[in-house]
Structures are given as C-alpha cells and as structure tokens.
C-alpha cells in the first residue's frame, strides 16, 4: 500500500479546524495559514507524483465500512486539477480574511478549513455515497460563512443558497439509491462503465441535473448566486466562485456524461438552450449592475454557460475547453473578488459609483485589476482564452448556431468588464475618500501575484494543465463517441473549381509599361 497522501490532505485541515475552535484569533490565523500551506505543498507533491499516461485512477485508497459503504479515495487527471485549484486558492483565502474578519476568528478559520476538507474530499471520493456526503456537507460551512460573517442581508442570502442547493440534492440522492440498487455497487469507477437502461437514464440524468444545474449555476436557477456573493465575505466569494461553482461542472463530467451517455445526448438541446439564454441574459444583466460583486457574479453565470456547452459538445476540444474554463474562471473570478475585497476593506462599499480614478492613487492595484479584467474578457495569453476558445471550437462541430450565440459572450463580456474597469480605475477622482486609499500592501500583493502568475502560465503554456487530463478526457470521449450528436455543419467536398476566383486571361497587347 502506497502512502495515503489523499487522506493526509484531508486530515491536515481537519485537525487544524478542530484546533482553531480552541485558539485565540491570532493563533487561529497562523494555524489556518500553516495548514493550508501544508496542503498546498502536499498538492504540489501529488501533482509531481501523478503519472501522466499511467493508470486512470491513482493514489487509490480503499477501506470497507458498514453495509457496503466504503471509504474509497482516488483521483484521475480531472480531479487532480480541481484539487490543485482548491489547495491553491485556500491559503489566499486565509490571507484575504487576515484583517477583515475580527469576530469569531477561530470558528471562521475552522469553517474554512472544514470547507477545504470537503472540497478535496468531493474531488477525491470514489464511492457514490462518500461523494454525496462531501458534496452536500460543503453546504454547511458555506452557509455558516455567509450567515455569520456576511453582509447586512446575510440571512436572506444564506437561506436562499441553502434552499436552492438542497432542492436539487434530494432528487440526486434518490437517483443514487436507485443506481446502487440497479448496479449493485457504489464504486464510482465501476458505475462510470456501467450501462444503465436507456429508459431509466433519462430520469436519473434529470435528477442529477437538478443538483448540478443549481450548483453550476445555470439559468434560471442562478438567482441564489448574486445574493450569496454579495453577502459573503471576500474569501467566501473566492471559494464560492473559485471552487464551489466547479462542483456542477465536475458532476456533469464525472456522473451525467459517462454514466448516462444516451440521456446526455438526448437532452443536450436542453443544456444548449439554457446556456444560450444564460450567455445573453446574464451578460446583459451584468451590464447594468451598480454593485461590483453582483456584476462579477452575473458574469460567472455567463462563463459557466460556456462550460456547459463545451461539456455537451461531446468532443475532445469541448471537454478540455470546459475543464480549462473551469480552472481559468476559478482563478480569475476568485482574483476579481479579491480585487473587490481589497477596496471594500478600505471604503466598505461595493457601489461602483463610489470609486473612480483608482489608477492614480493605486497604480499597482489597477495593474492587477486590469490583468484579471482582461483575463475575464478572454484575451489570448490568459487562462480563460484557452478554455473559451477550445470549448467554443468544440461546440462548432455540433451546432454553428449555438456557437454563434455563445460567442457573442466575448462582445458582451468585453462591454461589461471594461465598463466596470472604467468606472472603478479610470476617470477623475470624484470621491475624496476613494482618492485617499493606499495602494496594495504586502499581504494583498502576496494574494494577487500568485494568481496573476498562474493566469499567465495557463494562458501561455496550458500544456501543463492539459497533459494530466488528456487521457481521461480521451476515455470519456470514447465512451461518448457512440452517442455523439450528428453535426449540422457536415461537409460535402464537391468538385473543386478549376480556376482561382480572380483568374483572368491576358490577351497580350500592352499599351504601356510602368
């Protein structure tokens, strides 16, 4: 048996979380930072030891518990990347809460560390029920983070968040029970190969869809997100946008697509329709927002729609693109929420109109903000471009119409993000208090610089991130190949024309020579 590194990654934050409950504020901060950094180090170790092209499931751990329920962990390349995203963002979240959280610091840090346990767990779980527990338990710390340390309207937001997400999960649990009964196992890798009856797939798919669509979130079940983001503390927003929103996409790629391929193909139209509406609708809503966090929250919905169309393109480009958008969006929207947090900490308002001209007094901040804005817009050379480009290229094979509608997102995205940047960082310094704000301090710099580096790395050399996932995506594509939809852009080669379009014959009497 190899070294149980995944269990260790779960244990470290769990122990630290318990410790934090009994510590005073400053030691709780140190313990939390230390624990998350250890997990980051373990994560890097995990990545370095991950054998690209090796077995599909690596670092597996199995322990039988009661009633067929097993403690089973293991990761493939997709899970590895999402775990990396989680452990990378976690220390940054702790840093982001360093000064701004002053009440119940120990409990706060414990909630975050518990969150980390559950997030790693959800990506590493190899047992259906273990997955369900991690998946649903993640609600609790987030609910507390919003409900206890959130803004003025935190109770409404936290209930809305809880209601929406719970609704979907009940249906998912019923579907899971049926599946285990039918297949006789709760082992996820086995279930991914199991062929469920086509008739049942439809219902199972819909039950899972109810849960994942809310988590994603897809239109029209997205309205919990703006409220949750607005009310959550900065670090809560970062985790929400960075990791929790990826659970929906992960669910699709891990469950819906491989386990119910026929239903996925049959209902792809539904996903496309909702995604197309989401791109146009939420982008336009983002355009008119006056609250920074709301604007970025709505932009997240539009970006996640690109993920869903990419996933349901059923080809390598679409799937890899969707994964890259998830990773890129996790970094970039997380960073954008941090950027909001930096100025919120100084002025205690999220109202865009209260700022302006920040390039003058906060040039370093403006540079980071610009970089993340451009990444969000999908400028080539940044992480989001690679993902969006691949996902949209993938969907082109299936439907040119869906591609056309979803690609308008690059126009609308540019409009609302640049409009935001202009109102915050450009223009005259209208407000004296905003003009008096100081530039980034060392702690804030240490939060934003690593993300900036990762965003550029992912944009210039995405091979580091694509390579571990390649084999798993290829396997998924093979599984989906038989049901992949017929494309509307089918090519008929015809007979080539004889001449070039501007073919002319020269008759040969020149009147003059130049």
């Amino acid at each position: 048996m190899e070294f149980p590194i995944l269990s260790l990654m779960l244990a470290v934050p769990l122990v630290a979380a318990i410790a934090c409950l009994f510590l005073n504020a400053s030691s709780a901060r140190m313990v939390a930072l230390f624990a998350t950094l250890i997990d980051l180090a373990l994560g890097i170790l995990l990545w370095l030891n991950y054998d690209i092209g090796g077995a599909q499931w690596q670092f597996t751990e199995r322990a039988q518990l009661f009633a067929g329920f097993q403690y089973a962990l293991g990761i493939d390349g997709i899970a590895l990347m999402l775990i990396m995203l989680s452990v990378f963002l976690m220390p940054i979240c702790i840093l982001a809460s360093w000064d701004s959280i002053t009440k119940r610091v120990g409990e706060y840090m414990a909630a975050f560390l518990l969150m980390e346990v559950l997030m790693i767990g959800v990506f590493a779980a190899q047992d259906l029920f273990l997955f369900y527990i991690f998946f649903e338990a993640g609600l609790i710390p987030m609910y507390l983070i919003i409900g206890v340390w959130g803004g003025d309207n935190r109770i409404y937001a936290s209930y809305k968040f809880f209601l929406y997400t719970l609704l979907g999960s009940v249906l998912m649990l019923i579907a899971m029970l049926w599946m285990v009964n039918e297949a006789g196992t709760s082992d996820i890798p086995t279930l991914m190969q199991y062929d469920f009856p086509v008739g049942a797939q439809l219902w199972l798919w819909l039950a899972f869809f109810a849960s994942f669509a809310v988590k994603m979130p897809m239109w029209p079940v997205h309205t919990w997100l703006p409220d949750a983001h607005v009310q959550a503390p900065t670090a809560g927003s970062v985790i929400l946008a960075g990791v929790l929103l990826k659970l929906g996409g992960y669910g699709f790629i891990r469950f819906s697509l491989p386990m119910f391929p026929d239903a996925s193909a049959d209902l792809a139209w539904l996903v496309f329709a909702l995604s197309m509406v989401a791109v146009i609708y939420t982008s336009l809503v983002a355009l008119v927002q006056q609250d920074m966090k709301k604007l970025i929250a709505y932009s997240s919905v539009a970006h996640m729609a690109i993920v869903t169309v990419g996933l349901f393109a059923f080809n390598v480009q679409g799937l890899e693109g969707a994964m890259m958008v998830m990773l890129g969006h996790g970094l970039v929207s997380g960073a954008l929420f941090l950027c909001v947090g930096v100025i919120y900490d100084r002025l205690h308002t999220r109202e865009i109109a209260r700022y302006g001209g920040l390039s003058i007094n906060m040039p370093k901040y403006a540079l980071f903000f610009l970089l993340f804005t451009m990444a969000s817009v999908g400028l080539p050379g940044t992480s989001n471009f690679v993902g969006e480009f691949l996902a949209l290229a993938g969907i082109y094979e299936v439907s040119t119409f869906v591609t056309l509608v979803c690609t308008t997102g690059i126009i609308l995205g540019a409009a609302y993000m640049l409009y935001l940047f202009r109102r915050v960082a450009f223009g005259e310094q209208k407000n004296a208090d905003a003009a008096a704000m100081t530039d980034l301090n060392a702690r804030e710099w240490a939060m934003l610089a690593p993300i900036a580096a990762a965003v550029l790395w992912m944009g210039v050399y995405p091979e580091s991130f694509l390579a571990p996932m390649r084999q798993d995506i290829a396997a998924l594509e093979t599984r989906l190949a038989s049901v992949a939809p017929r494309y509307d852009s089918a090519l008929d080669e015809g007979t080539p024309r004889e001449n070039a379009a501007n073919y002319v014959e020269y008759e040969g009497h020149e009147e003059g020579e130049h």
Partner: protein, 663 residues
C-alpha cells in the same frame, strides 16, 4: 535567421521592464530602453527585408514553445518569416522606432511617460506576433494583443471621459469583428483539421467546390469561412459598418494615432486577407464582398473627410478611405498592389499624423483647423514635411516621366488593376476609387491650405487664449493674439524628416519589386501574373485618371480656401442636407447608439428587474417561502383545540363519505 527572436521579443522585454519599473526610476530610463529596443529591432528587420528583395532569403519558421494540444486541434508559438512578414516587419519596426523617438518630444511634459512607452512597446510586440504568426490562433493572439494596446493607448489620458468612451468603443467594436474571426477559425479547423496557415492554404483549392452547413443553411464552404474571417478584418481595419471606432480613437495621443491607427494595426486586416490570399481565391463571393466593402469604405470615408474640422479626424477618415483602396485591390486579386499601398501608406500617413502632431504641439494643443492659418512661415520644417505627405497621399506623379511620390505608384496601380480586372465589381471599385481620389486631393489640400496658408485665425482658439491670456476682443486687429508658434524639438523633427524621405521615394524605389516581381513574393501571397499584365495594359486615360482628379481636387480646394474663402460657407448652406449628412458621418454613431447600446442597457434592466427579481425569485425561492409561510398559517387553524370545530369537520367528512358511497 534567429534575429527574428530578438526583433519580436526585445520590445516585449522592454515593455515589461519599463512598465514594472514605472515611476521608481526617472522616466528617461523607460524611454531609453523602449526606444533602444525598437531601434535594434528596426536595424535587424531591414536586412531581412532587403535579403527578400534581392532574392537571397527563403521563408522560414522559428518554433518557440508548445501552446495548445487538444485532440486534433494543436497550435504552437512560432515565428514565421517570409516575404509578406518581412514587408510588415520593416513597416512596423521603422514606424514604431520613429514614433518612440518622436514621443520623447511630444510627450515631454506628461507625468506618465514610462507607462506610455511601455504601452507603445507592448503594442509593437503584439503587432509583430500577429505578422509572424504561422497559425490562425497566434494571429488571433496578436490581433487581440494590439487591440489591448490600442485600448490602453486610446484611453491613455484616462481622466478624460471622452478618451475612456473611445477606448471602450474601440475594444467592443473590434470584438464584433473578432466574433467573425473566431467563428472563421473554428470553421476552418473543422473543415481542414488544422489551424496551421501553410497547411490550410495548401488544402484550400481542393475545397473550392465544397459546401457546408452553416446556421441551418447549405453554403459554399470557402465563401462562408472567408466571409467570417473578413468580418474580423473589417473590425480591425475599420471598414464600413465596423469603422465607427477609428475616428473616436483620435482621443489617444497623436504618436499613437500615427503608429496604431494609421501605419500598422489598422492594416492588420489587409495583411490577413493577403496572408490568406490563396484561401480567398477559392471564395469568389467572399472576394466580391471584400471588393464591395473596400470600395464603399473608400468613398464613404472620403466624403466625411471633406467636412471635418479637427485635423486628426480628417486624417483618420483619410486612413479609413485608404484602407478601402487596399481591400478592393485585394478583392480583385492584386494582393501585391494592396501590400504595396499598405507599405507606402505607412510612411506617408505616419508622416501626416506626426506632422499634425507637430502642428498641434506648436498650436498649444489646438486641433481645430478653423483656428490655424499662415503656419508655413512659423513652422517651416513641419510645413515641408506635411507637404511631402500631402503630395504622396494625393498621388502626385507623371506616368510618362516614370516619376512620382509614394502614393502615386501604389494608388494608381490599384485603380488600374481594378479597371483591368474587367468585371462589374472591378469597374465599380475603379469609379469609386477615382472619385475618392478626387475627394482625397480636395480634403488633403483643404487641410494644407487651412493650416499653412491664409491669415492667422489663432486668437479664436480657446487654447491659444489660455496661452496668451487674451480674449479676441482684447487682441483686436492682431488675430495672432501675440502667440508665437514654435517649431518642434529635434526628436520630433528627425522622424518627420526620415518619413518624408519614405513618402517621396518609397514608391519610386520599390514599385518594380512589389508590383511586378513574382519571385519576390514567392509563395507568401497569391500572385496573379496575368492580372498584372492586364493592369499594365489599361488605356492611358485610366492611367492618368488619378492625376487628373488630383488636379481637380487641388483646384477646388485652392478656389474655396485661398481664392475666395466665403465659398465653403455658401456651399455648406446650399447643400444643407448633404453637408449635414457628411458632417455627421452618415449618422452611423446615432444609428448604432439607438440600435445596440440603448436596447442592450434596457434589456439588461428588464431581465434583471422583471426576469430575475420579478419572476424567478418571486415564484421561485420567495414564492416557496411564501407558500410555506401561508401554508403554516392555514395549517395552524386546523389545530385550534376546540372540540366543536373538530366535531364539525368530522360531521362534514361523514356527510361527504356517505354522499360518495350513495351516489
């Protein structure tokens, strides 16, 4: 040939260093390293170009780094150097180096100089990545990179609301074009299985008869792909419909206008069509559209240019119009001529912009030509430089002498080839081009006469009033207001001098190479030898057409702005509606505002207030909460604890049950 690595990456390095150091070092540091990097790039570029001219160089590709591999879709970072790239290299690095130098003088008093120079170098890097691209996606990288730099530089004076609006407009309008470009790349990938440009060009003729589904229609594959890509070109090169951002882009500092919005970035669309010319030659409908849009833009922009007062806007519309020439040249198959006009235009248009900058510098930031006049005596060097540029753009030259300024060679070639093409669209382009040449001559000389001739009208300008602390009344008879325009510093005059040489000689020297030398172009563009023979065989009247209309334009301008200055006012009055139509730029901005901007914000608010809040939340979570709340109130009533109410319910139930059983 690895000097290309230095040519491309030195500007990037300089930009990063200058940008990060920013104000922590004296601004001369940022200025020196960026300008130095550009002069080195320029010095390395010319030998490459000349080796292609004398035929000693061959096309090559320098791989840099893996970029993306996703199934069959893979593309790398690589630098391609062939004839077409070499032409662009010298244009970009030369103009950029000169603009860097010019900015030492022009931006001298600006507190944000390091940022400015970093942006300029960043732009140059992105533009170089664009022209050295070996695959469509790297071209798109450069495409977006120059868009970013353009956005940052238009909005460089970010305190001005107008500059911010113009910057956003430029980016967003370009994104509309990028939508087409991206769809074009996707389609090309699925048709050819690759995004590598050489592979696509090789396979394209085999697809010339292919059809494909697009938005539910059955269309010719190559036509739809080329049209999509051309939409991208229209955005970047400000062609009719997507041109609205270019005039507004003049909000940026003048050196930026010269580099980005005249000489280099806006020609990227022309470059793209030429780069993909073997592909476009398989798409007759797409080429027809290119020709038509080019010709239409050419005449549209020229009409607007005749009525503007802002010196930079006149030149901006002129740029738009000249790009139209390049496009219809490409549309009729004369890619060499299109590239030649791109090449000469870069010199004389950069010269005109930098000259205008020198005038603006001399006139205390005043840009309105109504307040100029008589400046040739005060800033003679600038005057002669502008003169060279004007002679070049109006195409002064005599065919039988075989002598002329730069624009003469390239513009005449384009008009001749359009005529020689012998199709209806070709003739349309020829007539539009000739008419536009007349207007070009008119507005160019109008600019010269208003600026450099006549009496000084300076005191009317608010900028001058601020400078001399006088009102027009106080100045009385002295319309100069006692203001003394000064010639610009040497750092600004040297670029003007160098570009003047280019404006005078670039056509004369390189015409045989660009137009007639099939070996020079090699495989880098589609070279149509028969068409070039036809171009040379057009009637003499066609060959002299441009020269004749130039004289007419000059004469009218002289009549209206020197002989009798009351004519323009009367003409504007007589031609009221037409004048206003031209003066208001054919009302494109207003149209788009009410067609796109207003509805977008309105829809956004409706979706938010009526959709999210009014419907989804109301009937979703809030609705559920309401139902539960009301439901529990109702449920509470069932548990009153009073015996009689329980008895009543039991009785009712009994009656109901009995009724149900009996009937």
């Amino acid at each position: 040939m690895n000097s290309i690595l230095f040519i491309v990456f030195l500007p990037l390095l300089a930009a990063v260093v200058a940008g990060l150091v920013n104000k922590s070092a004296p601004s001369v540091f940022a200025k020196s390293i960026t300008t130095g990097a550009l002069f080195i790039s320029c010095a390395l570029s010319w030998p490459i170009f000349l080796s292609f001219v004398n035929g000693s160089a061959e096309a090559s590709v320098v791989p840099v780094l893996t970029w993306v591999q996703s199934g069959a879709l893979s593309f790398d970072w690589a630098l391609r150097v062939d004839t077409l790239t070499a032409v662009m290299l010298v244009v970009i690095t030369t103009v950029s180096a000169l603009v860097h130098l010019y900015s030492w003088g022009y931006m001298e008093e600006d507190p944000d100089q390091p940022r400015f120079f970093a942006y300029l170098s960043l732009f140059t890097f992105a533009m170089l990545m664009l022209v050295t691209a070996d695959n469509l996606v790297q071209m798109f990288f450069g495409w977006e990179g120059v868009g970013l730099a353009s956005y940052l530089l238009i909005g460089f004076w970010f305190k001005k609301p107008s500059a911010n609006a113009a910057a956003i407009k430029a980016f967003v309008v370009n994104r509309v074009g990028d939508l087409g470009f991206m769809l074009g790349i996707f389609g090309t990938f699925w048709v050819f299985g690759t995004v590598s440009i050489p592979e696509i060009l090789e396979a394209a003729p085999g697809m010339s008869g292919a059809t494909i589904g697009f938005l539910g229609l059955r269309v010719y594959t190559m036509d739809v792909l080329c049209i999509l890509l051309f939409i991208g070109a229209m955005g970047k090169s400000a062609q009719l419909g997507l041109h609205t951002w270019l005039p507004d882009a003049m909000e940026g500092p003048t050196p930026v206008s010269a580099l980005i919005h005249a000489a280099t970035m806006v020609t990227a669309g022309v470059f793209m069509v030429c780069r993909l010319s073997p592909m476009f030659e398989t798409a007759p409908v797409a080429l027809g559209i290119v020709t038509f849009i080019g010709a239409a833009t050419c005449i549209f922009a020229a009409t607007v240019g005749t009525t503007q007062w802002d010196i930079k806007r006149v030149i901006a519309y002129s740029t738009c119009s000249q790009l139209g020439y390049m496009f219809f040249a490409a549309g009729v198959g004369a890619y060499g001529a299109a590239m030649f006009h791109l090449f000469t235009h870069a010199f004389f248009k950069a010269l005109l912009f930098l000259g205008a900058g020198s005038v603006i510098h001399a006139m205390h930031h005043e840009q309105d030509m109504r307040y100029y006049g008589n400046l040739r005596k005060h800033i003679p060097f600038t005057f002669w430089a502008m003169m060279a540029g004007t002679l070049a753009i109006t195409g002064v030259g005599i065919y039988h002498l075989g002598a002329g300024f730069a624009g003469f060679w390239s513009k005449d070639a384009i008009l001749e080839v359009a005529y020689g093409r012998g199709t209806e669209l070709g003739n349309f382009a020829f007539w539009m081009g000739t008419l536009a040449a007349l207007l070009t001559s008119f507005y160019s000389w109008r600019l010269m006469f208003l600026t450099f001739w006549g009496k000084p009208r300076w005191i009317e300008s608010e900028h001058i009033q601020h400078s001399v602390h006088k009102t027009p009344e106080e100045a009385g008879e002295d319309t100069t207001g006692g203001y003394h325009p000064h010639e610009s510093p040497l750092s600004m005059l040297i670029p003007l001098g160098v570009l003047s040489v280019g404006a005078v000689l670039a056509g004369q020297v390189f015409a045989p190479t660009f137009l007639d030398d099939a070996a020079f172009w090699g495989q880098s563009i589609f070279y149509n030898e028969d068409l070039i023979h036809r171009m040379h065989a057009v009637p003499y009247l066609v060959k002299y057409a441009a020269f004749i209309v130039m004289l007419i334009g000059l004469f009218v301008a002289w009549l209206a702005y020197i002989k009798d200055t009351s004519i323009p006012g009367k003409a504007a009055e007589q031609l009221g509606p037409v004048y206003r139509f031209f003066y208001n730029k054919w009302y494109f901005d207003e149209l788009y505002h009410y067609l796109f901007v207003v509805p977008a914000f309105w829809l956004g608010r409706q979706f938010w207030k009526l959709g999210d809040v009014g419907t989804i939340d109301r009937f979703g979570p809030n609705g559920v909460a309401w139902v539960i709340e009301k439901g529990s109130v109702g449920a509470k009533k069932f548990q009153t604890g009073y015996l009689y109410s329980y008895a009543l319910v039991m009785l009712l139930g009994l009656v109901a049950a009995v009724t149900w059983v009996l009937f």
